[in-house]
Structures are given as structure tokens and as C-alpha cells.
């Protein structure tokens, strides 16, 4: 039963990766660009939660469901705004420049957020404990020990995925997003407000990252300004694994990576090379199947 136990833990981790990976993949789909700063939005979500939770706790009472939901909403909203601001200030002016320019700007934004966060005037670099949003229980299901956090994570992720699916497939904005990701010029000519669609995409992705950040913090011992780097990286690999630009692929990649990592983490020898494993998978995919598991390869016109 050890296997099933690890599978459940892996799913919990994979769910978080999936949420973050969706953000990467949505932005890549619309802009063909990797938002290096996405992992830092995760961190900002966690810190928003850190500051919001006690205040909301005063309103709704400690460890209440309404309180928890409010914290999620506040963090999502704040980070959506931040994501859209970053896009507006740092990425939109470079819309027509070579890809490499924007890539480096994204790296700059990421470093800016991290270094500012580390500065004592802001968050400080020392780890801080994340407040308890909900009572934590370990539930016994047969021989399995399941943490209520994992159940919550998986449940929240499934709800969000359904919401995402609905937005992308059934709403006008979602259709617009898909149009822009196929052909930005044609979409613009058809009257699609490309700028607004891109803003929305950033906002949506950032909101997901914020929620993922809080879910991650609930399981983690503490949070600090560089906390987004590792999960962000894994989620990025997950997005590429599933096929960057492909939404179901991001989810598939996230879950797969979560499972792979949990099983590898159990293995003594592999755990020290954990970082390298994620990179190794990344390199292998890019070299052998750059389109990922579910993606489509693009042919260059000569």
C-alpha cells in the first residue's frame, strides 16, 4: 500500500504543479513567450495570504471555511492585478521586439520581485510561518493516511480546472483566447481585442498561481521570497512535458511530474539529484519531442 500512499501524495503535489503550469502554458499560447516571472506571482500570492489571513480571521473567526475562501479570493485578485500590471508595463511595450528581448525582461522582472521581496523593508529573506487557514486532519482510509490538505488541494484544483475548461470553451473571452493563440494577426483583423485578451490571460494565470501558492504554503513549513523558484521550475517543466501552449497538457504534465517526483523522492539515491531530475526531463523532452506529450510541432516556412 506504500505505492498508493505515495500516489496520493504525488497527486496532491501534481495538482499544485498543474495549477501553476496552466499559467505558463496559457501565456505561452497567447504570446509565444515564457513568463519567467510567473513563479514569483506564486510567492506574492502566498505572502498576500500571509498578510490577509489574520485580518480575515478577525472577521470570520479562526480556521473557518468562509475565511479560507476569502483569503483565496483576495490573494487571487491581488495577484491577478499584479500579473496584469507586469504585462502592461514590462511586456506589452516589447510586443513587436525579438523574443529574446522579452525573455530577458521577464528574467529581470523575476529578479526584481525576488530581490525586492528579500529586502528587509519588504518581506525580508527569513522564512516566515504561514497561518493555518483550516483545521488540518489526517484521515485514515483503510491503510492509507490522507492529509486533509491534499484532499483540499485536489478538490480545489478539480473545481478550478472545471472553471477553466468552462471559461476557455464556453465563453466569448475563452474563444477569443483560443483565436489569439492560433493566429494573433487574424484574430485582431476579426475584431478581437487582442490587448484585452492578453491582459485577461495574464490575470487568469496569475490568479491560479496565487491559489497554488497558498495551497503550497499550507503544506510547506514556511514561506520566503525565493519560495516560488523551485515549484515554478517544476511546473514549467510540467507545462513543457505536456506540450507548451496546450491546456490539458499542462494538467497532464503537472500530475505526471508530481507523481514522478514523489516516487523519486522516496528513493534515497535519487532525492539528492531532485533538481537535476526536473532539468533532465526538460532537456530530454526538448531534444526528443519538443512539442511535448500533447502538443503539435510547428513547421518553419522556407
Amino acid at each position: 500500500m506504500h505505492f498508493l500512499q505515495q500516489a496520493i501524495n504525488g497527486l496532491g503535489l501534481g495538482a499544485i504543479y498543474a495549477l501553476i503550469a496552466l499559467g505558463y502554458t496559457m501565456v505561452y499560447g497567447v504570446l509565444r513567450f515564457i513568463n519567467f516571472a510567473h513563479s514569483d506571482v506564486l510567492m506574492l500570492g502566498a505572502f498576500t495570504g500571509l498578510y490577509a489571513a489574520p485580518r480575515i480571521g478577525k472577521l470570520c473567526g479562526p480556521e473557518s471555511v468562509t475565511g479560507a475562501i476569502l483569503v483565496f479570493i483576495v490573494a487571487a485578485a491581488v495577484c491577478a492585478a499584479i500579473g496584469m500590471t507586469i504585462e502592461r508595463l514590462a511586456y506589452r511595450p516589447l510586443r513587436n521586439r525579438p523574443k529574446l528581448t522579452v525573455l530577458i525582461t521577464a528574467i529581470g522582472v523575476s529578479l526584481l520581485i525576488e530581490f525586492t521581496g528579500q529586502n528587509e523593508k519588504f518581506f525580508g529573506s527569513a522564512p516566515q510561518a504561514f497561518p493555518k487557514l483550516l483545521p488540518e486532519k489526517s484521515m485514515q482510509m483503510g491503510s492509507l493516511l490522507v492529509s486533509s490538505n491534499d484532499v483540499l488541494t485536489i478538490a480545489v484544483t478539480i473545481i478550478l480546472l472545471i472553471a477553466m475548461w468552462f471559461i476557455v470553451q464556453k465563453t466569448r473571452m475563452g474563444t477569443a483566447m483560443r483565436a489569439v493563440s492560433f493566429n494573433q494577426q487574424a484574430a485582431a483583423l476579426m475584431g478581437v481585442p487582442v490587448d484585452r485578451v492578453i491582459s485577461f490571460t495574464f490575470g487568469l494565470g496569475s490568479a491560479l498561481a496565487a491559489i497554488a501558492g497558498i495551497l503550497y504554503s499550507m503544506k510547506a513549513p514556511s514561506i520566503e521570497p525565493l519560495m516560488g523558484v523551485q515549484p515554478g521550475l517544476r511546473a514549467f517543466v510540467a507545462a513543457v512535458l505536456g506540450g507548451i501552449g496546450n491546456l490539458p497538457g499542462a494538467v497532464l504534465g503537472g500530475v505526471l511530474l508530481g507523481l514522478l517526483e514523489t516516487f523519486a523522492g522516496g528513493n534515497e539515491y535519487l532525492s539528492t539529484y531532485r533538481d537535476a531530475i526536473a532539468f533532465g526531463i526538460l532537456i530530454l523532452i526538448l531534444l526528443f519531442k519538443p512539442a511535448g506529450l500533447l502538443g503539435r510541432a510547428t513547421i518553419e516556412k522556407v
Binding site: A90, I107, L112, L286
Partner: protein, 307 residues
């Protein structure tokens, strides 16, 4: 037109380096250290410039090659123990580091250089990090706690002299009919291929050459700071070098050298603002990309000399 009298400049530069090293005992220890840092930065930036700037391949893992060269040459130095004539031994150790780094460059380059743009950047970033993790887990070179007590063989003469050599090699390469091939690959791979330039070979050559000099820079660094730690060669270090290349104008050798000097000296000027140094640095990157992506030292595109 091929660089006129290039060899003359090379010999002059080496002579100057020898001269400087004779007097280096007179200089302030601290400033000497900074000058050596500048020399190393020039080697790193110029070598990356060949890959990123001239050949247009976006490599984000240069620090990995520096690590390989540095660790290897340091490891040899420690294994051999104290040496009587360091001035004979040292260049050999550096050369060894450079060669091993170029070998790693070959192994990384051949599979990776099929990719373009974003993808190449990520793969090279990944390889750079893998190198770091491997070093971090290798007991023979101190693993995570680092490699200590490396003998101090690096002098200003060596740093400066090798910087001159690096600049000479890269410039001479590029300023030749053969070397124009690098820029052709940067401008249009398909056209280059159709005009007889083996693009894969060209890209790999640039990569391996760049890795070689990064390895040498690593060796110089190791025998200067006398301590190596894997975290010093992470992707942030690679970004540091990339920023130098971009600031200098991606392909303009003189600009890149100036940028390397500037960025190495900048922390010295910002001593008082040490707290905000990294924040300023990040802002610098963003502003640079937004306002002047062609670099601070680029000439407006209207007229560009043949060299």
C-alpha cells in the same frame, strides 16, 4: 577587411601584461583583486559574445562551463600540491580546465543547437543547472561545502594577458572570411546553409570555443578567490554574463568589453547602496530591454564598418 596588424596588438597586450605583473606587488591588494575580477569578466563576456552575440545562439548556461573549468583546474592543483614554478604549471592547469570545459561544451552543444530561441535558452539553462547539481554532489570537489585552499596562482598579469588573448582569438576569428560565417548563421540560418555554410558545425564551433574560454576564466577565478562553491555558478551567474553581452551590444566586441568592465566595477561604486544593489541590477536589466535593447554601446544601424 581582416583586422590589420592584429598580431601586433596581441604581442603588445601580452608584453603589457608581463610588465604589469612585474609591478603588481606595488598595487593595493584590494584594487588588484578587483582588476583581476575585471579581467575574468572580460574573458567570460567576450567568449559568450561569440555564442550569443556573433552567432546569435541564446546560451544561458555559460556559468556551467566556467564551473567545469574552474573545478577541474583547481582539483588538479590540489592533487599536485605546492609547485615550485607556478608560472610553468599554471597555464597548463588552465589549459586543462579549458579543454575539459570545451569537451562539455561539445556534449551540450551537439544535441542542443538543433533548437532555437526560447527552447535553446531553456535547454542551456537546464544543462548549466545540471552541471551545478552534479558538482554539488561530487565529494571529490567538496560537494556543497565547496573547494577550499586553492593556491593563489592568478596574478593581474595572467588575468590581463589571458583577457588580451581571448579578445584576440575571438576578434580574429570573426574578422575573417571564415568568421563571417558565424554572423551569417546569426542573420539567416537558411540562407547561410544554402550558401554553403554548415550551420550546425558553425554553431557547435562557436559553442565549444566559448566554453573553452569560460573554462579558462573559471580556472583563473578558482586560483584567485581560492575557494569554489557550486552556488557561485548558478543560473544567476549565467544571467550576469548574458547581461554584459546585451549591455555591450550583442556582437560588438568593444562594447562587450566595456560592459564587462562597467558591470564588474558597478558593485564597487554602489557599495553604499549594498542593500539595494541587486534591486538596482534587476531594474537595470528591465530598463535596458525596454529602452535600449541594442545595448549601451551600439552604433546606430545606418553605417557599420566591414570589420
Amino acid at each position: 577587411m581582416p583586422l590589420p596588424g592584429a598580431k601586433r596588438w596581441l604581442l603588445l597586450g601580452i608584453a603589457l601584461a608581463v610588465l604589469v605583473s612585474c609591478f603588481s606587488a606595488q598595487f593595493n591588494r584590494y584594487y588588484l583583486g578587483v582588476a583581476v575580477d575585471v579581467g575574468i569578466a572580460i574573458i567570460l563576456a567576450t567568449s559568450l559574445n561569440l555564442i550569443n552575440g556573433h552567432t546569435g545562439q541564446f546560451s544561458l548556461g555559460h556559468a556551467g562551463f566556467m564551473a567545469v573549468g574552474g573545478y577541474f583546474s583547481a582539483w588538479i592543483s590540489l592533487k599536485i600540491g605546492p609547485v615550485d614554478h607556478a608560472s610553468w604549471y599554471f597555464p597548463l592547469s588552465l589549459l586543462a580546465g579549458g579543454l575539459v570545459a570545451s569537451l562539455v561544451g561539445l556534449m551540450v552543444g551537439v544535441p542542443s543547437l538543433r533548437l532555437k530561441g526560447d527552447y535553446l535558452a531553456i535547454v542551456t539553462l537546464g544543462f548549466g543547472e545540471i552541471i551545478r547539481v552534479v558538482v554539488q554532489n561530487t565529494e571529490a570537489v567538496g560537494a556543497a561545502s565547496g573547494l577550499k585552499d586553492i593556491p593563489k596562482y592568478t596574478t593581474l598579469g595572467w588575468a590581463f594577458g589571458l583577457a588580451v588573448v581571448t579578445v584576440y582569438v575571438i576578434s580574429s576569428l570573426v574578422n575573417s572570411t571564415y568568421g563571417r560565417g558565424f554572423i551569417a548563421v546569426h542573420d539567416d540560418e537558411i540562407a547561410a546553409e544554402s550558401n554553403g555554410i554548415d550551420t550546425t558545425r558553425t554553431k557547435v564551433t562557436a559553442f565549444v570555443t566559448g566554453a573553452f574560454f569560460a573554462g579558462i576564466a573559471g580556472g583563473l577565478y578558482a586560483h584567485h578567490k581560492q575557494f569554489l562553491s557550486p552556488t557561485g555558478f548558478d543560473w544567476v551567474k549565467s544571467i550576469d554574463i548574458v547581461v554584459m553581452v546585451i549591455l555591450g551590444g550583442m556582437g560588438r566586441t568593444a562594447g562587450v568589453i566595456a560592459a564587462a568592465v562597467l558591470l564588474t566595477l558597478m558593485p564597487e561604486f554602489l557599495r553604499d547602496f549594498a542593500e539595494y544593489r541587486m534591486i538596482i541590477y534587476a531594474l537595470l536589466i528591465i530598463l535596458l530591454m525596454l529602452l535600449r535593447p541594442a545595448g549601451l554601446f551600439s552604433i546606430p544601424l545606418k553605417r557599420r564598418p566591414t570589420t
